[in-house]
Amino acid sequence: MTKYTDHLGRPIVAVTGIGIVSSLGQGKEDNWAALTAGRSGIHTITRFPTENLNTRIAGTVDFLGESTAGATPLSEKLAALAAEEAIAQSGLPMDDFGGSLFIAAPPVELDWKSRFALDRTTIEDGETSYELMLASCRRKPLPDFFNTTQFGYIAERIADTFGTRGLPITLSTACASGATAIQLGVEAIRRGESERVLSIGTDGSVSAESLIRFSLLSALSTQNDPAHKAAKPFSRDRDGFVMAEGAGALVMESLESAIARGAKILGFLQGCGEKADDFHRTRSKPDASPAIGAVRAALEDAGLTTGQIDYINAHGTSTPENDKMEYLALSTVFADRIGAIPTSSNKSMIGHTLTAAGAIEAAFSLLTIQTGTLPPTINYDNPDPAILLDVVPNVKREAKVSTVLSSSFGFGGQNTCLVMGAEPVL
């Protein structure tokens, strides 16, 4: 008889659908082929002028009709494409998903194109002012602009398109958001609230303003030429992350429900862990204790020991600070074993997809388990001598992987880790 509950008596969470869009392409197949070939999706920005900017590269998704339509339409489209692929793979009906929706979406404001357009409606009335723009809205509201400012809008559209149930949850835990969306889904299944959930991380928010904001915090790489060499996690000359776009989606189900409907199971979400940092708004506690706490919490939740992790899908942003802190955290938790666990960063190729990163990287982690191929960390030409990781340098590697740890760390003290495996922990 199949056992449907895990080591703590909770419903086992199976993954039955995976969807990915990134600057490398649309869909799992294209993405996985590019990622394992060590190809970079990072390129010179063409979406907006880059004169006067220190950073002129990004991993934008430029191949969609919505790519120049603004952050909200693009984030929605990316989410919809990833969801569509995941639901199609799960075999569930495309317009009647019938479970909860958790979506990590970027916190976006009215974009400049819209602001300029709104100001233009007031040119006859006097000099530029918010009072005149408000007066213009009183005369003639702009529902399309309004929608782009509503944080609940994308979730409503996705819920409507795919027929999810209940009040969808839109969330942000900065660069850990995608992982949090998955964690919320896992928890809902474990509570028995939903037999299946759709968890999505999406981000199509690269714009002049968002880039400048990160740039002003000195977070971005300025090694613009050649663009594909800029993201170099764990390298000595790393100088910041590269902003990027994309979406990842997972369909997760209780094992019982997946088996009952004869679904093909792609892997298991074994554990989730988190720990908040109270040190600083953008910097991590120097002793990495919150990140350490998040990794340990994820292992404990999964019911696994450090010896049972075969591969680590690192956060690996390529900022001087993150990679150093992440190594401190991993080497503390895994001790002497850390150098023997392959640990690579997808961000060397797809850049930092911000709100989507945790979801996309969880999707890649599951593909790693399925295919037995470890994606490389590219641009690893100058290893940081203080970071003694096996980063799967530059070229993919074949290996049997039963269990993966995927970590996400973000501004605002956000630390979330996921453990995924080929088999449930009984």
Partner: protein
């Protein structure tokens, strides 16, 4: 799976009515005149924040400077809630406390925006001008002071709440989901004690624009909540405020001898398609479920004043002839992300006192008999519906 009782053991509120439980209860019982500012954002009226001594909950000036007003409001209210629950500065309890924050964002630099828009009227190359101005004019840390998840980040830094930190977004619905999820985690044993709430600062042109792009603001002065149909504009009168709750499992509260205001017995949430489904029927069904057979429920309504959803909620409430309804946003203004936390907080105070506060507006029925349960509602201006049932402990 466990089935823990979920108790509210701490409440922190700051709004135009003042701060703390007594200030709010007294204003409700006396049905005070709302505190209004009709001039600063004319023709819009807002319920402005009174004087707040931020130092009381955010001791470091350097921390205060890193936050825009909505973040300060939330961090302040979170401190009040922790203090009220007797958890503040209890390192062990804060380090294991889980947090869900309902957050908006925004509060842009209006001077920079206006400068760029003005230049944009004559610029030959708007994109290049935008890059140049944003790069030189934006304050680097403003980004963090606006960023949604940084309210939670600031609460971690200032109050050392570090068990976990999640931020929900999506206007009123984020406040509903935040409390619903927090309660579900405690009920199931996924957490033992949680800090949950949100904040909203309306005293900012950019925040008002967020509503008015859709034409939702009332533009001809304040009017009683239930009597705004047909007035100029969209009916919404907004307020500034922050509301946080401490939720605990009954076991956890008992072990540390904490007093509870109320039990959260149930939360019902949903998101119908407003253009297609019947909102009034939906709200009525949700309230009937929450009333649990009580034909004379006490209902703290978070109705926003926005014409369509308020009319729908009013129709649902009118269909319950025995109900004693209190529309609280006539006094506080609509607090968006913090609205559901506010409705729940005020209902919890009534339940803990065992009595109703009197009618706040025309058509609201008096309630003299003791209150042992209360219902709290929040119906989003454009989406999201939530109803909570609270009972006396």
């Amino acid at each position: 799976m466990q089935n823990n009782k979920v108790l509210i053991t701490g409440i922190g509120i700051v709004s135009s009515l003042g701060e703390g439980l007594d200030a709010h209860w007294n204003a409700l019982v006396e049905n005070s005149e709302p505190k209004l500012d009709a001039t600063r954002f004319a023709p819009y009226t807002v319920h402005p924040l009174g004087e707040v001594d931020w130092n009381l909950q955010i001791p470091k000036r350097s921390d205060q400077r890193q936050m825009e007003t909505w973040q300060r409001l939330g961090t302040y209210a979170a401190g009040l809630a922790l203090q009220n629950a007797g958890i503040k500065e209890n390192e062990a309890l804060c380090a294991t406390m889980d947090m869900v924050v309902a957050a908006g964002g925004g509060e842009r630099d209006l001077a920079v925006d206006t400068l760029i828009l003005a230049e944009g009227r004559t610029s030959n190359d708007r994109g290049v001008m935008l890059n140049q101005k944003l790069s030189t004019e934006l304050r680097p840390t403003l980004f963090l002071a606006q960023l949604s998840n940084l309210l939670a980040g600031n609460i971690s830094i200032v109050h050392k709440v570090t068990g976990s930190s999640r931020t929900f977004m999506g206007e009123e619905a984020s406040g509903i989901s935040a409390i619903e999820t927090a309660a579900a985690r405690i009920r199931s044993g996924q957490s033992t004690h949680m800090l949950v709430g949100g904040s909203y600062n309306t005293e900012h042109f950019d925040m008002l624009l967020g509503h008015e792009l859709g034409g939702y603001l009332k533009s001809d002065g304040w009017a009683p909540l239930w009597q705004r149909q047909g007035s100029a504009g969209g009916g919404l009168v907004t307020g500034s405020g922050g509301v946080f709750l401490v939720l605990e499992s009954a076991d956890h509260a008992a072990k540390r001898g904490a007093k509870a205001y109320a039990e959260i017995e149930s939360i019902t949430s949903g998101q119908i398609r407003r253009g297609r489904d019947d909102l009034s029927k939906t709200v009525r069904d949700m309230i009937e479920t929450a009333a649990n057979g009580d034909e004379a429920p006490f209902i703290v309504s978070g109705a926003s004043g926005a014409h369509a959803p308020t009319a729908a909620e009013k129709a649902a409430l009118d269909a319950l002839p025995g109900a004693a309804v209190r529309g609280v946003t006539g006094l506080t203004g609509h607090l968006r992300e913090a609205q559901f936390p506010l409705s729940v907080a005020l209902a919890a105070i009534a339940v803990s006192k065992g009595e109703a506060f009197g009618p706040l507006g025309e058509g609201e029925m008096p309630r003299d008999k003791p209150v042992s349960a209360a219902i709290a509602t929040t119906i989003g201006v454009t989406r999201g519906e939530g109803v909570a049932r609270l009972t006396r402990v």
